[in-house]
């Protein structure tokens, strides 16, 4: 079945440094979504990308969908302690299900 991978698994950065997480799907995706989960919380939707090569920005966050629609990235500029959490990418699987990646856990040291 479809697999969604993310790297790195963990990332520790100093506050103010940049951060990037990468998502790769074994199959072409019609769309990809990104979620953030704070420690002890539940996933919260960040954004959805639909078009090949699409780039979207939300303040310090930049999301990109690959040309082949099999990979995506999330880049955070000048991280802050409020960025701490786990970032998941997710996309439609076979049938009508939804597949989440394993996530990248971000720690930001003040």
């Amino acid at each position: 079945g479809q697999q969604v991978m993310q790297i790195p698994q963990y990332q520790h950065v100093q506050e103010g440094e940049d951060f990037t997480t990468y998502c790769n799907s074994s199959t072409t995706l019609s769309n990809i979504q990104w979620y953030k989960q704070r420690p002890g919380g539940h996933p919260v939707f960040l954004i959805q990308l639909v078009k090949s090569g699409e780039v979207k920005k939300q303040k310090r966050l930049t999301f990109q969908f690959g040309e082949a629609k099999k990979n995506s990235s999330l880049h955070i500029t000048a991280t802050q302690t409020t960025d701490v959490g786990t970032y998941f990418c997710a996309g439609p699987g076979g049938g009508q299900n939804f597949v989440f990646g394993p996530g990248t856990r971000l720690s930001v040291l003040p």
């Binding site: 019609s30 979504q33 539940h42 939707f45 049938g95 299900n97 939804f98 597949v99």
Partner: protein, 113 residues
């Protein structure tokens, strides 16, 4: 309601017992998903409802797991003969339609002793 609610927030049960987990989606959302999340992992798809019908139950691990949504709103996930390996956080999410933004509830933490 303002968001997706799930009850109970925590459930501790003994191996072999039966449990029911409830999800109350956002009003008007026709799509409802159940996921299971183990520590350090991403949410694992269990079942998707469109209205009252289970449109995709391919993620249910085995026949001990069953879910219903009789009136197209509240859903109940039922687990029979619980096993220690069922311990996880069970998340519910709803959306206006399939592939739309999913809004997650706070989850039910199930612990099977």
């Amino acid at each position: 309601g303002a968001g997706v609610s799930q009850t109970p927030s925590n459930k501790v049960t003994e191996k072999g017992k039966y449990v029911e987990l409830r999800c109350d989606p956002i009003s008007g959302h026709t799509a409802l998903y159940w996921y299971r999340q183990s520590l350090g992992q991403g949410p694992e798809f269990l079942i998707y409802f469109q209205g009252t019908g289970a449109a995709d139950d391919s993620g249910l691990p085995n026949d001990r797991f069953f879910a219903v949504r009789p009136e197209g709103s509240v859903s109940t996930l039922k687990i029979q003969r619980t096993e220690r390996g069922d311990s996880a956080v069970y998340l519910c999410a709803s959306s206006f339609g399939q592939r739309d933004t999913q809004y997650f509830g706070p989850g039910t933490r199930l612990t099977v002793l």
